[in-house]
């Protein structure tokens, strides 16, 4: 088996563990888009723990980078990153979740809405990659 599949499995289990910790202790669903969007409005009652979660995400990256230096080639142009980022932000708030909230936590809870959303965003992603290839952009 390809080594990156094993890394995927181990990393995935850590992601699951993070979700379980947030649920057991705080009673919350680990949805990154929902948590992040709450930071935009300081009056939100969930502001502080959401900020702590996002800082955890950033610090994780920072410390990992200091220890192991990760290099990733990102092919997308600045313009496509701006458009993609905007669509991801808008879409996840409208659809109440992203890969973590719907794709992992929601499916684990067997939520009908999350299963539907995951099928739809994966299909839309597959179609987008396909169209991008056909148009060679």
């Amino acid at each position: 088996m390809n080594i990156s599949y094993i890394h995927g499995l181990i990393g995935g289990m850590l992601i699951g563990l993070a979700a379980v910790i947030l649920y057991w202790f705080n009673g919350r669903i680990m949805g990154v888009s929902g948590i992040t969007s709450k930071l935009l409005f300081k009056a939100d009652k969930d502001y502080w723990w959401c900020l702590a979660f996002v800082l955890g995400l950033i610090f994780g990256g920072l410390i990992y980078q200091m220890r192991f230096s990760v290099v990733v080639v990102i092919n997308a142009s600045a313009w496509s990153l701006i458009i993609a980022g905007f669509l991801v932000g808008f879409g996840t708030v409208l659809g109440n979740g992203c890969t973590s909230g719907h794709g992992i936590c929601g499916i684990a809870r067997l939520s009908k809405r999350s299963i539907a959303a995951t099928i739809v965003f994966m299909a839309a992603g597959i179609l987008t990659v396909f169209i991008k290839k056909v148009l060679k952009v």
Partner: protein
């Protein structure tokens, strides 16, 4: 304590996303490239994550969380137009760049300049959507 737990959860999530390779947009696009150079890694990530979270969620039962009074779960259970439309828009953006919110924010911590651009655009999109749907 609730805040410390949230930080720890975010930190573990971050390491999980890095170890799994999902911070690399090329691997995500590889998974979505069903009719080309398909890379199934994301399916392994989902399998790993779901195996732990599904069991973990079951084990708590219906008692209350360790630090709070109640579980805060989504109340809606209807599949409506807004959900589907949002998922379509998200999916298109995801396929365009290969970033979803988690890996993009971790990418900021890793110091990826392009992840910073993505996250700023993402926050703008979130802000405008929140104005439409409170």
């Amino acid at each position: 304590m609730v805040i410390i737990i949230a930080f720890i959860s975010g930190f573990i999530m971050s390491i999980g996303l890095i170890v799994s390779g999902m911070i690399n947009p090329q691997k995500v696009i590889g998974f979505l490239d069903l009719f080309g150079h398909f890379d199934p890694t994301l399916a392994f990530v989902m399998a790993g994550a779901l195996s732990v979270s599904a069991v973990g969620y079951r084990l708590v039962g219906s008692s209350k969380p360790l630090l709070c009074e109640t579980f805060d779960l989504p109340k809606r259970n209807k599949i409506d137009r807004q959900l589907i439309l949002g998922a379509v828009i998200f999916g298109v953006g995801w396929g365009l760049a290969g970033f979803c919110p988690g890996p993009a924010i971790v990418g900021v911590g890793l110091g990826f300049f392009k992840a910073i651009i993505f996250v700023i655009a993402m926050l703008t999109g979130m802000f405008l959507a929140r104005k439409q749907v409170p």
